[in-house]
Amino acid sequence: MADGRTARSGEWDALELYASLLASLGGGVGAGSVGALVDERVSLLVDEAVKVWSRPGFDTFLSVPALRFTPFDYQLQAARSALRRMRGRAILADEVGLGKTIEAGLILAELRLRGLAGRTLVITPAGLVAQWREELERKFGVPTTIPGQDADRGVLVVSLAAARRDPLRSQLTPESWDLIIVDEAHRVRAPRSASGQLIRQLRSRYLLLLTATPVENRLQDLYEMVSLVAPGLLGTAAQFRAAHGTAPLATPGREPRNVAALRKQTAEVMIRHRRSEVSVLLPQRLAETIRVEPSGAERQWYADLTARVRAEGRTTTSAQRLTLRSVAKLAGSSPAAAAPTLAKIGWDDLARRGSLLTAPAKVAVLLDRLGRFTQAGHKVLVFTAFRQTLELLTDQVPGAAVYHGSLPRAEKERTIAAFRDEAQVLLSTESAGEGRNLQFCHVMVNMDLPWNPMQIEQRLGRLHRVGQEHDVLLTNLVASGTIEEQVLRVLEAKINLFELVVGELDMILGRVDDEFDFETTVFDAFVASADDAEFGERMAAIGDDLARARTDYLASRASIDNLVSEEVGA
């Protein structure tokens, strides 16, 4: 670029910014050539382009007015960054419990409203399919569908386990998706696993990977994760290893190299909020467990029933096994709850004996507790998993509001209003409070204990949520000698279930095994055990697995914090 007079040293670099403009001037800048005139239409178009670029764009969420809840600012900010700065391909890596699902939902709703996500696929662990559907439909007004149903532009929600196998796999992979959301996306990280191969075969313009653990033991984890949303951002695998090392993250003295540069690169596609930086404060959870001694008749009835379940469970088909599991769970709630089902499957003697046990010991303890709480002026939410138990309690607790999923919508509203304004006690099945504000209550009693700890977590979440101003007091009633007692022992002793931060439980359960299902595992252990002592030993082993998973989780969290910065501008 010879020119008559020299530009200052260093300005030549800056002039490279003008290379295309200089080229457009025409004929270079030397003598004898011809210059192009300014094109008035181009000038106008450029002025408009500047305005378009500076318009609020995704800063203004078109979908927010239609939402059925108010997202937090940091969630909107995350969605905004993912849409604008990351162009719809991002890793949402908030710490557990901060609402990655909400952030993904915001992005999905916005893209759909703008006509950009007509074909959306959500891949999630099997246990969370229902939860995803509920969240998308209830909070975002986004219709969902599952394989086999008429899609009709609804968001297809599939479990990872089903999606990675045929026939679903071969249905999903040829499609050209607008948006794919992968929940617990660390499960698809490994390229050689079936899940990893699936995600690499799917095609989508926008991709959201949700995980609280984008990196665990190996730095390579991060590379694989980032490469899914932005292939090449971190270079080739060899370049990445050369730049940052290969040692396992936990190796003392062999920390990754160039961590600052790596953090800056990952921040181009990754958003991570931590509790310390968002103003979302949750109250404490205070849990107490009351082990209730059943009466002799109750104890014998339960022993006879579970012995029969165990005996038949070993030889029966899987469908019948499901019924047996259901019977065992019902029996843990109350004999009255189990009786109708027992009659239905032909266990008439046990049904008859159960129906006579109308005043189980747990009810007496519950009434005692309710008396104490209500005298102290507290409102109490009592949960049971079963309608039969609910009906039993309705007779025992006069004046209580009663809620269950079969009530008409208006009646549900009235029941919640009655609990808020008049009744001291709300007796409810699991459906209570879904999408409703129950923060005026902070005392909860579990009349029975779900075997699935996520269900326990969801119950707690009805009260232990943002906006709750009091510490949440949880009372678990569990009869001695029951399967529930063993379940509770493991969850309390091994992973401190009730002290966990919201969302951590899911992290821990997910680490035990890719397809770990606590409820099934418990029932399998129960059936496989010769007696209660062996069942106890098997449960202890399950507890050890959970404890290890928790230790792994805590260790990986530290690694992530070191490698992944919060939203640093790209």
Binding site: D3, E11, L21, L25, E40, W53, G57, R85, G115
Partner: protein
């Protein structure tokens, strides 16, 4: 009717790139040329609208503010940029006579120890001026991004920034020339200077903006510090009353939390590190009709020849630099050369000269003449009003509010 400016822009952009469109109520039917079809991953024919209801009911593609396709189109247009020459019209009014030109040159360029006399007849020339427009993106934190438009007008021969009034005046000048022109020379130093001016102003502006978000930094840092203090205190409390087995776990947790605390506080500081990026999108070379007057700067019998350009549309002289050292300072007619206050600084006062004789001006008594202010002016505030495009004028610079919400820096994809 398309009421959305962003969609209107997109339709014009499509048309400029060879596409077709026609209105259909609140939407438009569009036929995209191949290159745009590929670029935007859209079908060849589509119906677009800015109305969400129309999009839902008619199945039209909703293209409204924030749609990535609109952003991509804006990016595409800005990447191509707006560059070219503008030859301003010679004013119809009779040009000033020699006496006026001489008086004006003496007024505009006072030469210490000297006097300027015109030495020849004015000649008509086209005097080049560059106008550079850019987007400056300020990143003050991960969340705080501001984008502002910046514009600089620089005189090509002297590489001096034009005063705001002169830039405004030129931007209003009519421009009807349609013939192609030979390119101006010596553009690069002028463009480089314009860029340097923008960069320097951006550094100052960034400092001001950073100060505005420092509250956010303090708040976030304070929040994190309080959070960790509370967490650590909680673990320490539990540690006191814990069993040995539990204590092991808690001590490990305490150590991890303290490490996390240190990391987070460092990251927060890093996050608020400010920066700015300049992205040029406009380069206009204005060829301004001018009268070039030859002149001599006289000091006694010494004559230092020089020339000055009278810019006809603005009625002022174009700025000049010191012919000896190229500084932007007032001229000084020295005994051996024509220089300026930089290369020919005034001599320090002597003791004798410090006490002037009564009734004699200081300069006449040997005291150095008071130093005149350098001609360099602070970065000019850009003119405010923009002429209508149909007048085909050089568009004036724009002023944008300092708090304008940021957009991501434009990048070539």
């Amino acid at each position: 009717m398309i009421a959305d400016p962003a969609l209107e822009f997109w339709l014009r952009h499509v048309a400029a790139d060879g596409g077709l469109w026609e209105l259909a109520g609140d939407s438009a039917y569009v036929v995209l040329p191949g290159q745009l079809r590929d670029a935007y991953r859209l079908p060849e024919e589509l119906q677009v609208t800015a109305d969400p209801d129309v999009a839902r009911e008619e199945g039209a593609t909703l293209l409204t503010a924030g749609h990535p396709v609109l952003a991509e189109a804006a990016d595409r247009v800005l990447v191509a940029g707006d560059a070219g020459y503008l030859v301003l019209d010679r004013p119809a009014a009779v040009p000033p006579g020699r006496d006026v030109l001489q008086a004006e040159v003496r007024e505009a360029f006072p030469a210490d120890h000297g006097r300027i006399d015109l030495s020849g007849e004015p000649a008509f020339v086209l005097h080049p001026v560059v106008r550079v427009g850019a987007l400056v993106t300020y990143e003050l934190s991960a969340e705080d991004r501001f984008q502002e438009e910046a514009e600089r007008w620089v005189d090509v021969p002297s590489r001096r920034e034009l005063p705001a009034a002169l830039a405004r005046s030129l931007s209003k000048a009519l421009c009807t020339e349609r013939n192609v022109v030979p390119p101006a020379e010596n553009l690069l130093p002028a463009i480089g200077h314009a860029h340097r001016l923008m960069d320097s102003a951006s550094v100052s502006r960034r400092a001001v903006l950073s100060a505005e978000v420092s509250g956010g930094f303090e708040a976030e840092r304070g929040r994190a510090a309080a959070y960790y203090a509370d967490t650590i205190a909680g673990i320490e409390r539990r540690l006191v009353a814990s069993t040995p087995d539990r204590a092991l776990v808690l001590r490990e947790r305490l150590r991890a939390t303290r490490e996390e605390q240190a990391r987070r506080l460092a990251e927060i500081a890093e996050k608020y590190e400010a920066r700015h990026v300049i992205r040029p999108y406009r380069l206009h070379v204005l060829l301004v009709p001018a009268l070039r007057v030859a002149a001599d700067v006289l000091r006694g019998s010494r004559r230092y020849p020089m020339s000055f350009d009278w810019l006809l549309p603005a009625g002022v002289y174009a700025p000049v630099r010191c012919p000896s050292c190229l500084a932007e300072a007032a001229l000084v007619a020295g005994k051996e050369k024509l220089g300026c206050e930089v290369c020919l600084p005034p001599k320090p006062p002597t003791a004798a000269a410090a006490k002037p004789a009564a009734g004699i001006p200081a300069s006449a008594a040997g005291k150095p003449a008071p130093v005149k202010p350098a001609v360099t002016k602070p970065p000019a505030a850009p003119p405010a009003a923009a002429p209508k495009p149909s007048q085909r004028r050089a568009v004036p610079p724009k002023v944008r509010g300092p708090q304008q919400k940021a957009r991501p820096a434009l990048t070539r994809r």
